[in-house]
């Protein structure tokens, strides 16, 4: 009895630093965001006025905010679908098929993930350059005439952002799926092969169901991180006002001296990402298969 009590105390002591730090640096600031969204103040001013839900009401009527959220949703949906499709396909190919230089491909795909967004923006500004840019030059070569697509201008600008984001994200998720795919026992594939299942059937009937838990978890991660990554890419790559997303709207309001209003936008985005992850979790719920 006595030993379990002191054991509990020891455990509490071990957990306390992390818990306290988490509370001070995560929970408190988050609560503060909610509080500040009910006030109007400048970022650096000492005074603030309570305005109730006025910030949220203004937000619902703000065309710029609605456009920004539309862009955010568009990016989340398209980038998620494309990234997951390619990540799973590449992972399946690299683990199941015998390809020369597997490790080489694994590293090549992973590299974009360790680059900072600023570097990626630099790379893509060379790719998207209207005159003599890589993409336009390749297209010109294929078409046999000069192609002049303005990648970072309307209406292509959102496509450019999607391409860059997919390019950056594929490698990381591919490596994750490769890890879980290589955990699927070889014997399962062998017996499936004996039963006459082709490669595609094996992929859909074996691989996919067995790594489903992994896909579910990464999907939630990915959606939350895309909200943030979309902001970083748009900020680093394109002109302000071309393809604003939720978080760039939030920062713009702060720079315009509307700190409370930008916090209200932050609250809406926070709740949005929370609900979206819950929804995704609910929709992707399947019976867990044991290997």
């Amino acid at each position: 009895m006595r030993s379990s009590k002191s054991r509990g105390r020891f455990l509490a002591l071990c957990v306390a630093p992390a818990a306290i730090l988490y509370f001070v640096f995560m929970i408190l600031p988050t609560l503060n965001v909610f509080r500040m969204s009910l006030f109007e103040r400048g970022a650096y001013s000492p005074t603030e006025t309570f305005v109730g839900t006025a910030n949220f009401k203004a937000l619902m009527g703000d065309v710029k905010f609605i456009t920004a959220m539309q862009n955010t949703i568009l990016l989340i949906v398209t980038v998620t679908i494309i990234t997951f499709f390619f990540a799973i396909v590449f992972a399946a190919i690299l683990t199941r098929e015998k390809i020369k230089g597997q490790n080489f491909f694994r590293i090549v795909f992973y590299i974009p993930n360790i680059l900072s967004v600023v570097v990626i923006a630099g790379i893509f500004s060379a790719i998207y350059k209207p005159e003599n840019g890589m993409l336009n030059s390749i297209l010109s070569l294929l078409r046999g005439e000069t192609v002049m697509i303005l990648w970072k201008d309307q209406p292509m600008v959102i496509v450019s952002v999607i391409i860059a984001m997919v390019w950056q994200a594929i490698g990381y998720y591919m490596v994750m799926y490769m890890a879980s795919m290589s955990a699927v026992p070889e014997s399962l594939y062998e017996s499936a092969g004996l039963d006459g299942a082709g490669r595609l059937t094996q992929f859909f009937q074996l691989t996919l169901p067995l790594i489903w838990t992994n896909i579910r978890t990464t999907l939630t991660f990915f959606i939350i991180s895309t909200i943030n990554m979309a902001f970083l890419f748009v900020k680093a790559m394109v002109a302000k006002g071309m393809a604003d997303v939720g978080l760039s709207f939030m920062y713009a309001q702060k720079d315009a001296g509307l700190y409370g209003y930008s916090m209200a936008a932050g609250v809406v985005i926070f709740l949005f990402s929370f609900l979206l992850s819950a929804l995704v979790n609910l929709v992707t719920k399947r019976e867990v298969l044991e290997m």
Binding site: S6, R9, F10, L13, A16, P17, I20, L21, V24, G42, A43, Y44, S45, P46, T47, A54, N55, A58, L59, G61, D62, K64, A121, G122, S125, Y128, K129, P130, E131, M148, L150, W151, K152, D153, Q154, P155, A236, M237, V238, A239, K240, G241, M242, A252, Q253, D255, A256, G257, L258, Y261
Partner: protein, 461 residues
């Protein structure tokens, strides 16, 4: 014993956390690297020798041209007055001083102009968070016998750039100024035998000539560069009266013929702009737009004198020579106009060492400080400074001697309203849309009118 030990450990943990949490207020823990030793400023100001002021200055092109410029000025100030200076000099000054200011820790003097994307100075103006400088103007410059107001060229402390509330009180000290105008390749004009247009009609004629040469009339680095352009345009079209009314959002001002002419000129210019411009009008690629002028793919771009240093390493067409002209006159026989871009230095109202900060601002106009700033190519509105300029700068700063009107001032400050947007978002950013066709001229004008009405309703002063 064990119990005692665990109690002791818990206590130590709680104490260390408490120290972390309350540290910033009490000034016991050293603040994060960039905010420097602001803890020292808490010491009671017994003698000048014990005071340390914190100066935050933007490391702009001038600092790049002469690294250590600001440090040298601070050292000279310390040598003169004994007040120690802790300098924060950074390209992204807002990101460096912003977080600690949100925590209530303000520098004593900030050199950061209005019109930057992060709008930090504008936020201080909107919050009425800047200390008055009236007594600085009548102060004697440390180490000299002259008063500050004697060393500032007349007119520089009379505009909305330094007196944001229109009440004649100076809050921001006028520091480096630079004429803005249209930059072009003078070598190309000589080669083709073209003359620099004096009116907009001549400008449109030139546009057709440029088309024949497979070039375009116009480009711009980003839409932000249109602020100086718009100010100069309003001044050249409607003169000082129209300029003042427009920048204070006077009722019906955008329906006047002068305003219509401004809109027409910008819309027409958009149609003559090199079409790749908006795709590169972002912080990542704007130098590519500037490169268009160096490569003769566009004739003119709005810019400032720093462009020469900024593009010094860039490849260029054969025979390239920088040229700068004021905006053409609105009608034949009229005067062109050039906007005078002015950087400001100011003191936050919550600065811990107000007196020493004011001394520092006064010192910025001393002969010693002016000489140091001049090494970086920075010119203050102090009489006689432009006489010593050399090279391209001599030509740039002589623009007003050649008959162009000087436009000074900016859009009046207004209380921020949710959904209204900044001056740049309302007036300037849509130019990208005009060039790529995603917004019509009428739509832009009606947006400007609607926003202008709201700005007038919330104007400060």
């Amino acid at each position: 014993m064990k119990k005692f030990l665990s109690l002791l450990l818990t206590l130590a943990l709680v104490l260390s956390l408490a120290a972390c949490g309350g540290g910033n207020d009490a000034g016991t823990t050293p603040p994060p690297a960039d905010s420097g030793s602001s803890g020292d400023t808490q010491a009671p100001p017994t003698a000048a020798e014990d005071v340390t002021i914190t100066v935050a200055a933007l490391a702009s092109g001038y600092e790049e041209a002469y690294p250590g410029m600001w440090q040298e000025v601070c050292d000279a100030f310390t040598a003169e007055t004994g007040v120690k200076v802790n300098l924060i000099c950074d390209k992204n000054l807002e990101d460096v001083i912003g977080p600690s200011m949100q925590g209530g820790d303000f520098p004593d003097v900030i050199h950061l102009a209005t019109g930057r994307e992060k709008g930090l100075t504008e936020q201080f103006i909107k919050d009425r968070n800047i200390a008055e400088l009236t007594d600085v103007l009548s102060m004697t410059i440390p180490g000299e016998s002259a008063k500050v107001s004697d060393k500032i060229v007349g007119g520089f402390t009379d505009t909305s750039v330094t007196n944001p509330y229109g009440d004649g009180v100076t809050y921001l000290a006028p520091m480096f100024y630079s004429p803005c105008g249209l930059f072009y390749n003078a070598g190309l004009f000589e080669e083709k035998g073209w003359t620099v247009p004096a009116t907009w009609d001549e400008m449109w004629e030139l546009a057709e000539k440029a088309k024949a040469e497979d070039s375009y009339l116009f480009t711009y680095p980003t839409t932000g560069y249109f602020d100086a352009f718009l100010y100069a345009l309003m001044y050249s079209v409607g003169g000082a009266d129209f300029f003042n009314k427009a920048t204070t959002y006077a009722e019906g001002i955008w329906d006047t013929p002068e305003a219509q002419q401004c809109f027409d000129i910008i819309a027409k210019l958009a149609s003559y702009t090199n079409p790749v411009t908006p795709a590169q009008a972002n912080d990542q690629d704007f130098t590519q737009n500037q490169q268009l002028v160096l490569d003769n793919k566009a004739l003119f771009m709005p810019n400032g004198t720093w462009i020469v240093g900024e593009m010094a390493e860039a490849p260029r067409a054969e025979g390239f020579k920088w040229g700068m002209t004021a905006l053409p006159a609105a009608k034949a026989g009229g005067n062109g106009a050039s906007y005078c871009w002015l950087e400001q230095a100011w003191i936050p109202a919550a600065a811990p060492n107000l007196d020493a900060a004011k001394q520092f601002v006064a010192f910025l106009y001393s002969d010693a400080a002016c000489a140091i700033f001049a090494k970086g190519g920075a010119v203050q509105p102090v009489p006689g400074l432009t006489d010593n300029l050399e090279g391209d700068n001599k030509m740039f700063y002589s623009i007003y001697d050649n008959g162009a009107d000087a436009a000074m001032g900016n859009f009046a400050a207004y209380n921020a309203v949710a959904g209204l947007g900044t001056v740049r978002e309302v007036f300037l950013d849509p130019v990208n849309g005009l060039v790529n066709g995603s917004i019509s001229k009428d739509q832009w004008i009606s947006d400007v009118k609607a926003a202008s009405d709201q700005m007038r309703a919330n104007i400060m002063g």
